[in-house]
């Protein structure tokens, strides 16, 4: 569907001046990145829910996925929609905001207020665009650690997240084992598979093939590679679902018509749905951020940082882990979670692992999955007892 002339990207305003709280770091507090580049001054935008207790022992860091943001459980300032994980975060939920202090930060390289390609370089006043340094999952976690320091929190009660968020959870546990009491990596893997890199490359090529991408400098040139980014999102969205779920929801149903039109219009419901997904995504996301964050995921291989042994990444860890996968997730299949569990067992770590039966695919971790709620609640409650955190209301 053709769109009228591009309005200024809302997310671009959020990038420099987010609606949520933001911490600024000066040039002498720069981040040294895996690429060798140094980033500073820089900023990190975040949301918090609940109250930090007196001894600062009840903080939970939620790590968001590729296209998520810090607005876990409150209205998103760009879309006006409710937070992306209200099924898990809120009063009485597994991550109970009446009991815990929940933190979620926009990832480094993102476009919702933490430094990324959509930001303007505070030193030059120019948009970073593709001059922003390439970041890794470890860089993202390093930035989060600086935020946690600023908030005066030494040990996080729990670090949790799904997909790319799960990668951050694993990185946290490996890099800062003494700062993570409990960890919940969901629907994730300790490395990105060749197939996943392949899908990401399709998405990046779609963005870069859009003439409006302008070799990455579309912000300066006043264009937006919307078509390319929409195609990238459409392809990616298929990988978040499953064949049975697509069949259940759409089958071969036609969209508002009784018969095929013998054209390339969106005859099928699934086509119309994907086009909608692509369109709504470009309204809230920066195309270069998409390139950077998919790259960060592609580079992730935790074992590689530890001489090829994933178990070595968790050697001697006291962190208690709860790993969960979903039967119909083909982006991060159960075998990926099992590899994490094997490594944790080899490291003698405390680990729980559930595989949850669902046809909802990779996105199941974001959706209504009662078994996920029950297991995460059981895990969090027992970890809270071990941590000596009071029951709610006592």
């Amino acid at each position: 569907m053709p769109r009228s002339k591009t309005p200024p990207a809302v997310s671009q305003n959020e990038a420099d001046h987010p609606t949520s709280p933001v911490q600024h770091f000066a040039a002498d507090e720069s981040l040294l990145l895996d690429s060798g580049a140094s980033l500073g001054p820089w900023q990190i935008a975040y949301q918090t829910y609940g109250t930090l207790n007196a001894d600062k022992s009840n903080a939970i860091l939620i790590c968001h996925a590729l296209t998520g943001d810090q607005h876990v459980a409150s209205e998103n300032p760009v879309t006006g929609k409710t937070g992306w994980w209200t099924s898990m975060v809120g009063p009485g939920k597994s991550f109970d905001t009446d009991r815990f202090f929940i933190i979620c930060a926009n990832v480094l390289g993102g476009c919702m207020g933490t430094s990324g390609p959509a930001n303007h370089d505070p030193l030059t006043g120019k948009a970073y665009a593709v001059d922003f340094p390439v970041v890794t999952i470890r860089d993202i976690v390093g930035a989060q650690a600086r935020l946690v320091d600023r908030l005066g929190i030494d040990t996080l009660f729990c670090v949790a997240g799904g997909s790319m968020g799960g990668m951050q959870v694993l990185q946290w546990a490996a890099t800062f084992p003494e700062r993570v009491f409990a960890a919940m990596p969901l629907a994730t893997g300790a490395k990105h598979s060749a197939q996943n890199i392949a899908f990401h490359e399709v998405g990046r090529q779609a963005v870069m093939a859009d003439p409006d991408w302008r070799a990455g400098h579309y912000l300066a040139e006043g264009t937006r590679p919307e078509k390319g980014l929409a195609v990238a999102r459409m392809a990616a969205h298929i990988t978040y679902l499953s064949e049975p779920a697509l069949h259940r929801k759409f089958g071969r149903k036609l969209q508002d018509r009784a018969a095929p039109t013998f054209s390339f219009d969106a005859d099928f419901e699934i086509e119309s749905y994907l086009r909608y997904q692509g369109r709504s995504f470009v309204e809230r996301f920066d195309a270069n951020s998409y390139l950077y964050l998919t790259r960060a995921m592609d580079y992730f291989d935790l074992a590689d940082d530890f001489g090829g042994s994933l178990a070595a990444a968790f050697k001697g860890t006291k962190t208690r882990f709860c790993v969960a996968s979903f039967t119909s997730d083909w982006l991060f299949p159960t075998s990926d979670s099992r590899a994490i569990v094997h490594a944790l067992n080899a490291a003698g770590a405390s680990v729980s692992f559930v595989e949850i039966e669902t046809d909802k695919g990779h996105d199941a971790f974001l959706l209504n999955e009662p078994v996920l709620f029950a297991t995460s609640r059981g895990f969090i409650d027992s970890a809270a007892r071990a941590r000596g955190l009071k029951e709610q209301g006592s």
Binding site: R320, C322, V323, V341, H342, N345, A346, A347, G348, S350, V351, S352, F353, V354, E355, I356, E357, V371, A374, T375, R377, G378, F379, D381, S382, A383, R385
Partner: protein, 211 residues
């Protein structure tokens, strides 16, 4: 070391209480084939152990994790190899040995992973079982072993005498052994193996590697 255990939820399962009484307080314990976590839960509550579990059935695992137990979905036949030597004080195989594909290798792993291995199993040498084969000529079906030959998950039954012979062969030392009679009551310690083998319905052994 053999303090009595509070009889609570698991009261009906004498074999579980026996296992619990064999375990030192605060020990690191791995329960292989932990089912719905009843033994792990008992050990954590009454023995304050650092307990972990492996369970094949996903329903069992999900139930355990919901209760706050550290349990992973896994298979005793394939997944024990991941665990490091001496990772636990005790590794328990409760009523699971007969369902493994390679029982000897499983026991070798138990002895490698734990300083002590505790194995409980139904005794196929019990006189009722012997008599069903001897006099009816049919594969035994009993109250505790209620499966027919064609649908049983129990593929490697042994008798108490068989198990003792295997521990000899594997150069493992039997530190403790208890047989339970028909009523689930421990039999007198002084009775010879042959009597246990005939009248014990279940057996619980505590082993360590080496002689």
């Amino acid at each position: 070391m053999t303090e009595p255990v509070n009889h609570t939820a698991a009261a009906a399962r004498v074999d579980l209480l026996l296992v619990a009484e064999m375990i030192e307080r605060g020990a690191r314990v791995l329960d292989v084939g932990c089912g719905d976590g009843i033994l792990l839960d008992l050990l954590i509550r009454t023995r304050e152990v650092d307990g972990r579990g492996i369970e094949l059935s996903q329903a069992g695992v999900n139930g355990c994790v919901t209760k706050g137990l550290s349990v992973v979905q896994g298979d005793a036949d394939t997944d024990l190899a991941d665990y490091p030597d001496d990772g636990f004080d005790y590794v328990i195989l409760s009523q699971t040995l007969q369902a493994t594909r390679r029982p000897r290798e499983v026991i070798e792993h138990l002895l490698r992973i734990g300083r002590r291995a505790i194995v409980s199993f139904p005794n196929f040498g019990h006189w009722r079982i012997r008599s069903q084969i001897a006099f009816q000529g049919r594969m035994p079906v009993t109250k505790n072993l209620s499966y027919a030959w064609y649908n049983t998950p129990n593929i490697h039954f042994c008798t108490i005498a068989d198990f003792v012979a295997l521990t000899d062969e594997m150069d493992a030392t039997i530190e403790k052994a208890v047989a339970l009679d028909r009523n689930g009551q421990p039999m007198r310690m002084t009775l010879p193996w042959a009597v246990w083998n005939l009248f014990g319905e279940q057996a619980v052994f505590m082993l360590r590697r080496g002689s």
